[in-house]
Every structure is written in structure tokens, then in C-alpha cells.
Amino acid sequence: MPDLGPDIFFATITELSAKLKAHEISVLDLTRAFTTRLERIGPRYNALALPLTEHALRRARELDDDIKRDRWRSPLHGIPFAVKDLLAYAGQPTTWGAKPYAAQVFDYTATVVTKLDSAGAVLIGKLAMVELAGGPSYRYARASLTGPGLNPWDRTRWSGGSSSGSGIAVSAGLAPFAIGSETSGSILTPSAFCGITGLRPTYGLVSRYGAMALSWTLDKLGPMCRSAVDCALVLQAISGGDSNDPGSAGKRFYYLPQFAKPVNQVRVGYAPVDFNEWSDPAARPAFQQAITVLRDLGVHVKEMALPDFPYGAVLGAILGCEASEIFEPLIKSGKVDELADQRQIAGLKAGLEIPARDYLRAMRIRRILMQEIAKMFIDVDLLLAPSRPSPATKITDPLDRRLNPSLNPPPKSSGMTALIPAGNLAGLPAIGLPCGFADKLPVAIQLVGQPFSENVLVSVGKAFQERTDWHRQHPQV
């Protein structure tokens, strides 16, 4: 195997594709390099659920044959990738990160995996995750069949979840891109903590067929990559209608930067209190600098705040009810007690007791919430907030504690601190962009757009990443 050099592991999809097209490397070389690295380094960070090396090498040879015939399937042709272990892959274990499902094998493959395979991408493995994608809630990072996701920037810190392995794999150069899922924060959080770019698509844009269901009305699948453009290339491959997914919007995403609104015409709403008061003091300079960069790009920045809603209660009732209904057989069988996290076990059990009236009321409030948030987009194109107010938490920290208890007195406005639950309840797309470091750990901003406005998000993300190099920095692993 030729020595491809360490830079290859941190190259973008576009850069890797250029090398394949120039015949500087073969798909087989690239796949061997990444499978070896994933198997060698992945377990060190509790990132690997299942290597698929043999399958990957076989597929790589087929794709090299395609190249010899000058057949290019897509911009992802020959690019290795890995997926969160909640996606079915026929004949292989799909554990959902949870002990009760450790031996589970499906005889079908998730639509997302099939689509990426058709696009010529090479599946090299399945990645660790928080058990049952963390639903309805959990307390400790160790809530996983594979142990806590260790942050490649500092192994005493958490990778974020629930797409922990996906965040680690991209950050540590174990895969050029990964697929994660988000019900409420599971793409944006590990992307922020691990210093990578994550895109949460509009609800219904990407088929969830073959993915573990946690909440029918909240679940989304999306790309976790090295850049905004990489996210667009992956999203283009995985989006589209699917009659197997009842939530499918029947729409596709085409990456069309030439038709996106010019960045200097984009209007962004943000709440200064999120950046100046709610966030960790160590992260404030990075967040402030991110706003400055956006202003320098010509983005029109306007102060605003989310409307007042009981976001936590609405999300809690909907997710609690749906998750417990989905996992009712697990709860009733008693096997729920095999899960690693006591809070999660209790949350699933108690979810069965939530009255139907609470669920209905939460869904009615959700309708009003969606209408009110839609009104915000009359004045702006995107909403901006820190992805997380602080860098990665310590592995041993309880996650259901307040992130910044030192805020005394607390800020008088909640600004857009609820943007993650609000965006997920409204089904809105978001992109997470690394914007600097706090205490040597990455921090990131999130931009949230109107439904199906992914091209605007990518366009602003691309412009931001042309002015900054935070997305190009990687940990020494």
C-alpha cells in the first residue's frame, strides 16, 4: 500500500475526489488507509461499533473498475464513509448502541446507506452512539454499549451525543464523512464538541427507512463532515422522497451554489445575550469573532429573540410519549433494565404514563410555535446562536445538570438559548460551523433556516469557512 501521508485523513471530499480523478490514489488505497485507521484508532475513543473492512475492500475494487471505464457515479465516488449504528445494514448487527439489541440483525438496508452506495461512496463501518439515541433523556456520557464517546481533542471530555462515534470519526480522521441522526441536538452537539461541520436537514428531506425510530415527528438523518460544501455533497446524495418513510417530504436537495442568495444579501437574526451572557466566558471571544466574520462577509445582522414558549415541556411530552410508545415492548419485557443509564430507564418507563391530553396539548402548542417561528423569517433568512454555550463537558459530568450554574444572577432574557429544541420542533434545517476554541476545545455556531433552505445555510457556511480555518484544524490523534 502506498504511503498516502497523514494529510489524506483530514482532506475534504472535494480534495479526495480530485486525487482520485487525477489517478494519484486508487479507491482501494484510500479505503485500505481509512479502514486500517478506523480499526486501529476507533476503539481508543469508543467510536467504533462494527468494522466492515472486507465489504469495503470488495466494493473499492468494483469502484476502481468503474474509474478504469471512466464511469463516475457522483462527487462521492470512491469516498469512504461510516454510519451511526442506528442504520440497518442487511446481514450485519445493528445494535442501536444498546445492550438489549446487541445481537439484532436486519435483512434489509437503510435507504440512506443504499443511496450512498449507489453514489459510489464506500461504507467502511458503523459507529458508536448513545443507547437508543439517548431517548427520551440520559444523564451520563457512558450511556452506551461501547462506553462514553471520548473527545479526540481531550480524552477526558465527552464527544457529545447521541451521534458520538460519527463526531469522533470525522474529527479524528477515521472517515472523511459520517451519517448521524438528530431528534433534538444529536448532530449539532457532537459536531460542536468535536470541531466538525454538521448539517441537520429539514424534517422529511432525508428518508429514515431502516433507521431506528425514536420520535416519528422529530427524527432526522444528516451528514457530519469536514466542511459545509462536503455536507452539501452528501446531502445531495441522501435526500429525496421515499414511500417507505411516512414522514418523507418527497423533495430532493440539489447543491446549487450558483443560485443561492448572495451572502451579502442574507439577513441573520441573533440574540446578543446568548453570546455575551449565557455562553461560557472562555468561549465568548470565539463567538464574538464569528459574528464579526459574518458582518465582514456583508451579512446583515439583526437582534432578535425566540418567542416565549415552554420549549422543554413541549419537547419532553412529545419525545417522552413517542419514544416510550416505540420502545413499549422493551419496557414491558423488563429488558429496559439492561440499559446503562438509570435516568434513561426511568424516562422510558415514565413516558408510558404521560396522559394523552399532555401529548395533544404539546402538539397543539407545537403548531402555534411553528407559526410564530415562521413569522421570524419575515425579517431574517437565518437564525444564529452558539451550537452549545460551552465546550465539551467532562466525561464524568452529569449531563442533566445546568451547564453554567455560575450565572448568578441569570441573564434577564433567554435570547435564543432554546434554538435546538425550537428548531427541531419546527422541523427546521441547521448547520453547525466550528468557530474557534475555548480552553483548547472546539466551539461552534449554529445557523437555522426556513424549511428546505439548505442551499442558503451551505452558502453562508461556505463563505464563513473561506474566511476562517477552524474547520481545517484537527486533533493530534
Binding site: Y203, D358, R367, P410, P411, T417
Partner: protein
């Protein structure tokens, strides 16, 4: 109507800020306490949902299309 500065300040504080002022309960020590804590949280959620005014015409977001 007269209103004290303290009351005015409290009225201006948003739910997240109020939440931030609430003392954090201790971490439950065993599965029974854990279940009780989650039930208490669900009860508080239910109360928060009840307190939010919902017009009679507001239908649930069942036809959920973004």
C-alpha cells in the same frame, strides 16, 4: 396600578432565566428515586403545558410537514 421594582423585574424575567434560578435537585440515588424524579418532571411539564394559552382553533401538528 402601582408595581414594585422587584415585581417588575420578576415579570421581565423569561422562563429560561427563571429555570436558571431554580435550585437543582440532587441526583437520585436509586432506580425508585430516579423514577420519582422523572414523574415529578413530567408533572411539571404537564403544568407548564396547561399554563400556556391555546386558542380553541389550534389543531395538533399531526399533519407534520415542515
Amino acid at each position: 396600578m402601582k408595581i414594585s421594582r422587584r415585581k417588575l423585574a420578576m415579570a421581565m424575567i423569561t422562563p429560561a432565566a427563571l429555570l436558571a434560578q431554580t435550585p437543582q435537585p440532587p441526583i437520585p440515588a436509586n432506580p425508585e428515586e430516579e423514577l420519582a424524579a422523572i414523574r415529578e418532571q413530567n408533572r411539571r411539564n404537564s403544568q407548564a403545558l396547561d399554563e400556556f394559552p391555546v386558542p380553541m382553533a389550534a389543531e395538533p401538528a399531526f399533519q407534520f410537514k415542515a
